[in-house]
Amino acid sequence: MILVASLALLVVSVCSLAIGTYPIGLADILSGNLSETERSVLLSLRAPRLLAALAAGACFGVAGAAMQSLFRNALAEPGLLGVPTAAALGAALSLVFISSSVSFSLWPGALIGAGVAMFALLALVQRQHHGATAQLLLMGVALNAACAAGLALVTSLATEAQLRTLAFWMLGSFSNQSWGAVIAMCTASLLAIVMLFRDARSLGALALGERTAKTLGVSLRGLRARVAIACAFAVAIVTAFCGSIAFVGLAGPHIARLLVGAQPSRVLPLAAVIGALLCVIADVLARGLASPAELPVGAITSFIGVPILVALVVNSARLKAERA
């Protein structure tokens, strides 16, 4: 299954390099027979964009899968810990109060906001003791609410132009990524993926409940801290550059689970691949549907993710009814 999904990802990725306002032949890309313009479009526009979508999708997919296992809850997703909202608050603050220039204030502000949220969570994780997963969840919800409130205050002070910039960033986009940003995102995603894969087996034992997992030899405190750090770190970096990419972190793991069952050692890799697949498809649609205009990618991932989630909920409700 993972092989099929990876193959699909590869095909979609190569196609995404060819599709756009300036079409490039697939055969030309594969054979490397490109004109000067084509080469520059590929290297400076399409390739960074593709890599950003891959990194963001993989990161959100794997983080969502890990957090659903950690919280033993099908509704958990990377945004649950409040990191994307904190990033938005940071971006809004720096945009309104420091500099209106998009490239200078947006991503550093978002990174700082997400970083502060991450360290707040980390401090909490280190202080907590027995049965604290629910506490971590509640703190995430509280952080989310606080940042959303702050965001509302700041946007009420923003100018029209600032509001517009902020709104577009918050809807998410993979376009106009510098190679530096792309490298940062890929590194962060890879790090998170490696960290979370190493804990896949512990997350598996957690399916049996925290108490049983502990008696099977899982150290819960360490596990909670590692998963929270890995998810928050990668999500912070991706959100800072791409804005919030909705629903990939929720839909990716669920689709993976439908395909290979609930064992995290199988779900985590597949969730990464499917998350990446969703993001690349959404990105192609974002620039293809209303070309030459561009649609916000965050909205498109939601459009793909919402029907899947609804189908899933209806389906699981039906299964439960059948069981009873």
Partner: protein, 244 residues
């Protein structure tokens, strides 16, 4: 038989919020022995099992498994010689019975033969591909027991703790589980501790009974001498009349 004790408890106390949940308890259990824990609700049965499982640190006293204090064990190596069956929350995501049992050793590649053997011992192999969330409570208990058998493997001198394994079981299932516990203890040389509310369970399979009352040992010894009408009446603070 004089062999070293698998489980050795010395002056164990658990104090929380100034109330003594377990008060200076001492006993030991050898390989192949089954210990039944009896006592009223809140007498400390689950607390004692939790302390024996190393779920929390006892306030004072010593718990040794195979001669080593619990605190010396790394969590992973303790999991190789000690299993606990207690009430588990419902599964959040569906999991096949095979995967469920293979989680008994979460850090190793699933050993198909071992999982099947454990399921077979519990007469549960026919559910292998079923969704564990769809099992009835009696079926689920058998699968959980299979998971513990797989977790501990064939190693002798293991300690198996079960918190009210027989609650919610019908007569036939009860009988099956009791016989399985007895047979595992004898055949694999494990020490087994289980809690129950039914004195008859203890009489059926236990070598020792620990009668708990408000965290202290009211009586410890062989079932027939401990479980008298007088002792049970005092332990449960109600008139007990039963035929032995």
């Amino acid at each position: 038989m004089s062999q070293p004790a698998v489980l050795n408890v010395q002056a164990l106390s658990v104090v929380r919020n100034q109330s003594h949940l377990i008060d200076s308890l001492s006993f030991s259990l050898r390989a192949g022995e089954v210990l039944a824990l009896l006592g009223a609700n809140g007498a400390g049965k689950s607390t004692l099992l939790g302390a024996l499982a190393n779920e929390f640190e006892a306030t004072s006293g010593v718990i040794e498994v195979n001669g080593q204090p619990l605190g010396v064990y790394v969590a992973e190596s303790l999991a190789e010689v000690r299993a606990l069956n207690a009430v588990e929350p419902p599964l959040a995501f569906s999991l096949s019975v095979f995967d469920f049992v293979s989680l008994g050793r979460p850090f190793l590649e699933p050993d198909c033969e071992g999982v099947l053997r454990a399921l077979d011992e519990c007469h549960a192999a026919q559910w292998m591909n079923r969704d564990a969330a769809s099992l009835s409570s009696g079926e689920l208990l058998r699968v959980q027991i299979a998971r513990s058998l797989y977790q501990l493997g064939d190693a002798p001198n293991s300690l198996w703790l079960l918190d009210e394994p027989l609650a919610h079981l019908d007569l036939a299932q009860r009988d099956f589980v009791l016989r399985l516990l007895r047979q595992v203890a004898t055949a694999r040389r494990w020490a087994i501790v289980f809690s129950t509310h039914e004195p008859q369970d203890a009489i059926a399979i236990a070598d020792q009974v620990l009668l708990l009352r408000r965290g202290t040992a009211m009586a410890f010894g062989d079932p027939r001498s401990v479980l008298t009408n007088e002792q049970l009446s005092e332990c449960y603070e109600t008139q007990v009349e039963r035929m032995l």
